[in-house]
């Protein structure tokens, strides 16, 4: 129930309510599809790549995200001003805000994403868990309902430690904490609630078993809102720091094909049950014993979508726009085949030697790698200032090869070519090289705790110079 526009038309003009590499990614898709693009920008981003390469741009506010990229009124005004008929929210910012999606709908502008109701149900983690349980997705032991302090403590003791406390409205690795023991639990629970209230304005939290060791495996789905749905295989995103991904790859290595196919089918079932539309991701934890558990749904395009694109040959942003403009899927599940292996490394302006703390500053030299089967998604140019207001992603480096061993070798070669120099900006580049060289990663025996293990390893003195 989007609006009265003729739904078989492609959009004429798309506004991108985001910044950085993803805004550029969407601008590029628009250019290729013959759609006019509108970039919106904060004062800080006035000379950004998306602003330069889009057809039009509108200054929507000062650097602070609340007053610019999170300012729904300013973005809708910009859409009205430019006559955009759709808004792509990218990831982060307003991408998973059902109120914003609803406001777009009221303004007669198509929101490129799932319907508001599906977003509300899947966006809140406790209701997503309830839905997953209804359609038979395996869940980790934990709560389906929001809990008070006492009930949460009893539940945590029942399911056994360690447990993880998560904000229902959380995302992007924020608003979650692990309690290792009953002693720790009350404090962890209280703190997570307080954090959730502060970050998301909503202190609903839930508790579930913390699985360790485990792999983070996720399924990319596409649904068209006409009953058509398919999945594009799995991504492994186990290499994380502070619950945020550093390395992603597709397909997920070292897991039985039958398991991945079962996860794919289960995800499609759940997406259809939720009335999902567009591109979405179902996240799971896979245990060494072959069991898997549903974690959450991301109702948007994801940072790591390129690895799926590289192995399937399907442009996910183009499919998002195709579906959002009302078309049925132009692919069948049988037509989706994955070839080879793609790995993505996130080059962040962060200092691995200091807990991956953001390290803003000005990038002096920036010389990304090239060569066969290497893709770099970045908005950075030499002289670019890395602003403290926004996330620290500088570039996504993606390498494809027919098999995993060659993909790793290609990634090592590409990381080695990548030149980033700055007086004060530290990056994750060298740390990513360490991961590529690590036997656990090479043998696909890694888990979500590998980054911690690398950092704690006493043989590993990481004082960067």
């Amino acid at each position: 129930m989007m609006n009265s526009r003729k739904r078989s038309d492609m959009f004429r003009k798309l506004l991108i309510a985001n910044r950085g590499e993803i805004a550029l990614r969407v601008v590029r898709a628009c250019r290729e599809m013959g759609i006019r693009s509108v970039a919106v920008y904060s004062t800080r981003d006035r000379d950004s790549a998306a602003v330069r390469l889009s057809d039009e741009s509108v200054h929507i506010g000062p650097p602070a995200p609340k007053k610019s990229y999170l300012n729904a009124a300013a973005i809708l005004e910009a859409a009205a001003l430019t006559g955009a008929d759709a808004i792509h929210p990218g990831y982060g910012f307003l991408s998973e805000d059902p109120d914003f999606a609803e406001a777009c709908e009221k303004a007669g502008i198509v929101f490129v994403g799932p319907p508001t109701a599906a977003m509300r149900q899947l966006g809140a983690k406790h209701s997503a868990r309830a839905l997953a349980s209804e359609v038979g997705l395996p869940l980790l032991p934990g709560s389906l309902e929001p809990l008070d302090d006492e009930a949460a403590f009893d539940l945590a003791c029942d399911i056994g430690f360690p447990v993880i406390v998560k904000a229902s409205a959380g995302g992007g690795g924020r608003g979650m904490a692990v309690a290792e023991s009953a002693d720790e639990f009350p404090q962890v629970f209280r703190e997570t609630r307080a954090t959730a209230r502060m970050l998301f304005g909503d202190d609903v939290v839930y508790v579930e078993k913390f699985l360790r060791p485990a792999r983070h495996v996720e399924i990319q789905v596409l649904c068209d809102g006409h009953g058509g749905a398919l999945h594009l295989g799995a991504r492994d995103c186990s290499i994380q720091r502070r619950h945020q991904k550093l390395v992603e790859e597709s397909p997920a290595p070292g897991l039985p094909a039958s398991l991945l196919s079962e996860m794919g089918q289960a995800s499609v079932r759940a997406a259809l049950a939720a009335g999902y539309e567009g591109a979405g991701t179902f996240e799971f934890l896979a245990a060494p014993d072959g069991s898997y558990y549903f974690m959450e749904v991301n109702c948007r395009i994801q940072v790591e979508h390129p690895v799926t694109e590289m192995v399937t040959g399907i442009d996910l942003v183009a499919e998002q726009l195709w579906i959002a403009s009302g078309h049925p899927l132009r692919l069948t599940q049988e037509q989706v085949t994955a070839r080879g292996v793609a790995i993505e490394c996130r080059i962040n302006a962060e200092d691995p030697a200091h807990g991956f703390s953001p390290a803003p500053g000005v990038i002096r030299d920036f010389n990304p790698p090239g060569g066969p089967f290497v893709r770099v998604d970045t908005h950075i140019r030499p002289g670019e200032a890395i602003a403290p207001e926004y996330d620290s992603l500088l570039a996504k480096l993606i390498a494809w090869a027919p098999n995993r061993e060659e993909a790793i070798a290609r990634m090592q070669r590409a990381l080695g070519e990548f030149r980033i120099n700055s007086d004060n900006v530290r990056t994750t580049k060298d740390f990513l090289q360490e991961i590529m060289a690590d036997q656990r990663f090479r043998l696909a025996s890694h888990s979500t705790t590998m980054v911690e293990q690398l950092l704690e390893s006493p043989a590993n003195d990481r004082s960067l110079t």
Binding site: V51, P62, A74, L81, V362
Partner: protein, 203 residues
């Protein structure tokens, strides 16, 4: 694209300086390297200006950059045309480029003897109105003396009426944007001349 390049050269320099200093928020005092970068950026800025200002002040915390353009009394020097990007409407559908937009704070004043125009800029994206409602008298006209904090217009964003308030005292030199026009954040709406101190308020 030419308007953007011509009109924004100064702004470009200033922007980079602003960013270099804003990164210092994390440190108590700037690093020598950063100070060197700031000095270099200031030198760049000066070399990019069409005319040498009389005074340039840079303060670090919260970033203030002050340019003093007052010319000394003496023989009239031919002034270059003020570098003021026209607040053009966005999305004319033909340019294929982004619209030049003015920064929200401390615009470079157009040079002129004892003239330091100051601009009241749009607080958000929206529609700019001169008057509280259709048919009502405008908040201000050319020549109106305004005080700091006085409302001089309205920007409507998603049915929300945001007052446009002058951040300093002065005299309205020009209303730059027509009533009912769409504006971007930070777009110049009203040019203010100096307050007329010798002449007490007539009303």
């Amino acid at each position: 694209m030419t308007g953007r390049e011509n009109g924004q050269r100064q702004q470009g320099s200033r922007t980079s300086m602003h960013e270099a200093t804003a990164d210092d928020q994390h440190a108590d005092r700037p690093h020598p390297r950063e100070l060197a970068a700031i000095r270099a950026a200031v030198a760049d800025l000066l070399s990019a200006l069409p005319q040498r200002p009389q005074r340039l002040r840079v303060s670090i915390a919260d970033v203030t950059i002050d340019l003093d353009w007052r010319t000394l009394p003496g023989p009239a020097v031919p002034q270059p045309a003020p570098v003021v990007p026209t607040p053009a409407a966005v999305g004319d559908g033909t340019s294929g480029t982004s619209t030049p937009v003015t920064p929200s704070v401390t615009d470079p004043p157009a040079p002129g003897p004892d003239q330091q125009p100051h601009y009241v800029c749009a607080p958000t994206v929206g529609t700019f109105y001169h008057a509280p409602q259709p048919g009502a008298p405008s908040f201000v006209e050319t020549g109106t003396a305004v005080t700091a904090g006085q409302q001089v217009g309205i920007v409507e964003a998603m049915k929300l009426m945001l007052p446009v308030v002058s951040d300093r005292a002065g005299t309205v030199a020009e209303i730059l944007v027509a009533d009912g026009t769409s504006v971007e954040y930070g777009e110049r709406l009203i040019a203010l001349g100096p307050a007329n101190d010798e002449q007490p308020q007539a009303e």
